[in-house]
Symmetry: D3
Subunit: 284 residues, 6 copies
């Protein structure tokens, strides 16, 4: 069973609305290599796990638990990027202005139609998330290799999306997730090391230069690239795998640690022109 | 952030393998009105919630938290129904038997191809789950009405699926979920009552006769149709809505209660013929 | 604007339930070459028609109007094939029978889950109808050639589906539609003749032998393969094209005629075990 | 059977081309809550209706009939918005201009590729319409609640799309449809009132302020929000439900009325550069 | 079996990057009437061909073989249009510039996220290619008519896309393909002539004026519109059909000829900011 | 450019019709890990390759070329399994038999409707192939790892499908492909070895026992698991990578070799009841 404490796993840095950034950040939420995919893939793999080598199941499930928080973080980041992007309402009395005309020009129009300027289960091109993204092969090596591709591509795509806006809300979330995807690469690469593989110097993939993503630095300094947060309320065998030398070039040491300190979940402002939540005057 | 204790929200009752039942039960997992839909819909609605009437957000999120456990319960039930359904292996030395030939006749062949006889993010007709199932309208009345349709259709479909096999593993899970969907109907119907609606006698939808679903009886007797489990580790305002007289015909009283006692997560047997997990002999 | 008289365009011949036939007949409703495709393709082409040669637009729209009735005819035929296919209910008091277990074996399980044994917007393999089936090219020759392929494939597929069951309800509807698709082939082939094409003896496609589809004979004898029903309440120029010698091998004469006599729309029986319509006891 | 008179259900107000408006208006045609969905959902529900309480079937079918006209109205509006948006042709003799380069910048490029600047069965993000949007549950209460969500979301989305352009062609059609969706909300809400529900003051959803949508005023004054047009050529029982006090806040009276006066279907100009219709010179 | 010589079937003319042109050119690669569709449709039709009239199979397969080269040509053209479109990198030391911010404004963001500025199996609206585009009816007349629609629509759409940019890389590839689609129209039209059809003057469709597409002229002068390239390493019967008078208005003569002279496959530049290929420093 | 010699890459072993086997074998053709995916993924990756380390591009392209033959082999195998599965026609004079009634019971009905008993671009559950299966990341390590997962899963799924029928036509093709997928695993694993990785004993994945798949033995004995066929008509650098010790447990030596001897492409019998090819009597 799953429990919740109302805390975001990372901070939301304030900046201006940026609907174009919200559009491309959807890839990180609902794309083929986004957080919904990792969350659901690791959920299915841990529920479908066969055999009694539970340390591998606990590893996969441990990453799954964090991915739920990642989904929430990206949803909230997208909402923050959209908040106020079509600020000025149609004036009372019948102005003919079109307050969303500019806002949608480089945006996903569904952000303004399907919901009240809020996140969607779609990718950067507007394609809805699809169950066929999820692989749960049942063979442990296939599953681990697949997860490694998934986390590698996660970093790769985020490093490309990062170059699409200099908005601080946008980049802080991407930077945090780049570092965490690096940690999850380490988790699956290490699991394959227990089966004999020696990765030499190919990880992390891609071979990113931290100087290009300055927001990443503090997370690296806090060791987040070599840590696995533990969201279990009971015992877990994850530490049997996630320990010892990092499989990445950086020579660090892997360590299971408690969850990070939580950050407040923002209260999203009402949006009367989008009729959200739309219950203000009901009992007048 | 999300925390986990390795407990299923309900028991898995043992019975024979039944791949045909596994196929139709997929509707409850990955169908348009299945648990993945409710889980993701309530997740998006709670993250996208606007305004400071947080009691409604806490209600939606509270149901979301339980739905994660429902997804896990249905995954596990499907796995149990599949376990051993193609038991006999191709004999060493090159027998020409085809152990899965019978098993797949009325089954979803993907259960045996994509994974090692395990659950998938698809529906009863084999269509993958799709992000376009999720609605997060941003208008509270629209969202609540939509959720009410969702939970009503959940019961409706489960009552029909129930008639497709008398397998006990299958029916116990369906019965538990029918009663819980009834409770969630009560949650959203009650939320609309706080805005003035009087439902008269139309709930629960459908107007099911408990005598037809005998496995439901014990859950009704335990009051599960009028209870909302609380999976929060911090405070929640859900009790401001989920309290008082039930909006359903039964005249009960709604009550927020602690989570039910957990049930063990089964260890799924290895399946060497499906190469799962397939790591036995690696270090020989 | 569109008007309605509660009449089916052809009769529903009674026979036993046949859920397997209902499954494959879905191709004719929601398949890539089914009636929903023809209906929507001709709807878009007539609304999007450019230029003042309105006789072509009237021809396309004239066929569209009939296709709405075809959709209704196939929906009703499927419903008739499903009615009573899971007759015996789970007995009061908790019998453990599973009345739908047999019914779904060769059926589309969604017929029993999504609705109360009724038609769906999907094809014979369970794939939902998709807007990408519709072509409205804007170039008249492309549109007419595409429509000709569509009607030819319509006959071709129906002649194959016909061999999948000897159920009379099923075959009568297919036979009627085979003859009408032949007429619609004639309509589009004739329209291309007005632009100069000479088809020689290639139509109808396929070159079907009426003796294999005995139910077709009476429709041929009534001239339905060379007639275009007129569903317009105002003037139409369709007769400028649909007249003269048939472009098919049969040497008949094309003629615009009034709609056929209507047939009663059946009242579908209630299905209490499927909770349909489920309002019987509400006011007790 | 279905009959047609060449009349649009509402006027097309002339204004400049606006391909960006055409793009977002596609949501109203081919979106999850657009007119194709309502049309097909009510079509399936009325054909699949079980039992002899035909007043409910007649109500659902009555709304279906109007929705066919709505689809045609939105198709025509989109065509009007696209007409002439890439006006200037590539000059004879081989100019290297690219007349569509500007036009497609904020447009759906398929409007210019798939057809000759004309409507498509897709939504505002370019996703094709999908049969999985249609729900026909077979349980009357589920169907009515679902239809109510559908009509409520219809108004909600149209009120948001309205803010995306001040083009008069665009806004007039949206305004008419907002008022008609309000009437259809009343239809389904009233049907649930006959089963005992009291809606208090929650309808219409959203609680829209007519002063923001000045084009709506005349339709309200004509009573279109409380009227149900009757497109039947035979008897209908719709008036048994659609009568008496409106379930909305406005205290009006529901009334079945004849169809509105028709408006001319425009002849779309030829578009030689798009090769539409492309038959001008064939017989030279 | 299939053999390869590293040659492009046509030249890549250099010009500036143009990501907006790359976006719309995707229609020609992954659209419903693009080169992936023609390639796969003719592949399935030739493998599924029934009967011993092998001249028709050889014709369909002959066109298939060329289409593989067309796919490669369009992929390479898109890559050329994207190369360098987000040139300037994020500076070392943490500049906050966002080099892709401009590039993606009118682009498909997936070109920059999924790959390192390279082609994708999607259409101009970003929808992934779908197997339901492929038709292999098994009836030769249906297949030939369908292929004729396909090649006609190919020219039609390319002539529209041509107007969306004056980029030379873009237009040269489109011009070559327009002429080759004309040749393939001739192939399928001629095959239907062998069955008796007389096309009069309707081909080519559309009735394009070569003066509007000046890049086409040289290909027409080289006779590419009446030639079928022969990619067979063994005997073929294609010449039994593809010979004699062209079915198009131009009165030319159809002729099977050797493949055109090949053009060099460009080496795409590395793109370090996109981590492509990303292996430079691995062994440092 | 691509050239063809009419030869299958492996033999088609005759056996009885088996439409149920044809249904599941579709996974190998149009599934997420089937031959269409490998073919298109390696096609995109080789066209999109960046940088001048052409030995990697030649390796990927080399595998691509073979995959085209694999697609043709599986299409032909499916056709052979379907040939004659609905043998007996509806008798002349109007017999009411339904020759396909039995055939479709455990079949994909589209095999009998869409084509004349022939292969389709779909998977074992009937879902059409989708462009979103293709990954071309642009980062060489990501691409190689992804290809390795793809080939590993290819073997894994084929070993499971193998157990679904003992039909010889079916198993021979699967056995050949299992061995070839093993060779392709070796290709991509070896490429990663050139970047430093040491795989220890984890390959091949899965760890299959050749005694269970006796048809594989002869291919292993011919060294097909360690060979890469060369389909280039010009020079290739593939041998720079595909050489030396196999990365798999078997200690063999990798070697680039000429293509295997070809096998005849069968002439599929006409199927008059399916109107295929349907041109017999046209000129009578």
């Amino acid at each position: 069973m799953y429990f919740y404490k109302e805390d975001l796993i990372n901070m939301i840095v304030p900046d201006k609305p940026d609907p174009s950034a919200a559009k491309v950040l959807q890839e990180t939420l609902g794309g083929r290599f986004g957080e919904m995919r990792t969350m659901m893939q690791f959920f299915f793999q841990s529920s479908n796990f066969r055999g009694n080598q539970k340390q591998y199941r606990d590893l996969i499930r441990g990453v799954f638990l964090e991915e739920i928080s990642h989904v929430e973080l990206v949803q909230t980041t997208i909402n923050q990027l959209l908040n106020g992007s079509g600020e000025e309402a149609v004036g009372a009395g019948g102005s003919t202005g079109a307050p969303l005309e500019e806002a949608i020009k480089h945006a996903n129009p569904h952000h303004f139609i399907m919901g009240a300027q809020s996140s969607l289960p779609v990718d950067a091109a507007g394609n809805p998330w699809n169950g066929n993204y999820v692989y749960s092969h049942g063979n442990l090596i296939s599953d681990l290799l697949d997860n490694l591709v998934l986390e590698s591509t996660g970093v790769l795509q985020k490093s490309r999306i990062y170059e699409m806006s200099s908005n601080k809300t946008f980049r802080e979330t991407l930077a945090f997730l780049i570092v965490r995807d690096n940690a999850h690469q380490n988790a699956f690469a290490k699991a394959l090391e227990t089966l004999g593989v020696d990765w030499a110097k190919i990880f992390p993939v891609p071979n990113y230069d931290i100087n290009k993503y300055p927001e990443c630095r503090k997370y690296i300094e806090m060791g987040f690239h070599n840590a696995q947060f533990n969201f279990r309320l009971d015992e877990t065998l994850i530490g049997q795998i996630f320990q010892g030398e990092s499989p990445s070039r950086d020579d660090g040491t892997l360590q299971v640690v408690p969850p990070p300190e939580g950050h407040p979940v923002p209260v999203l402002p009402e949006m009367p022109n989008e009729h959200s939540p739309g219950i203000q005057d009901l009992n007048k």
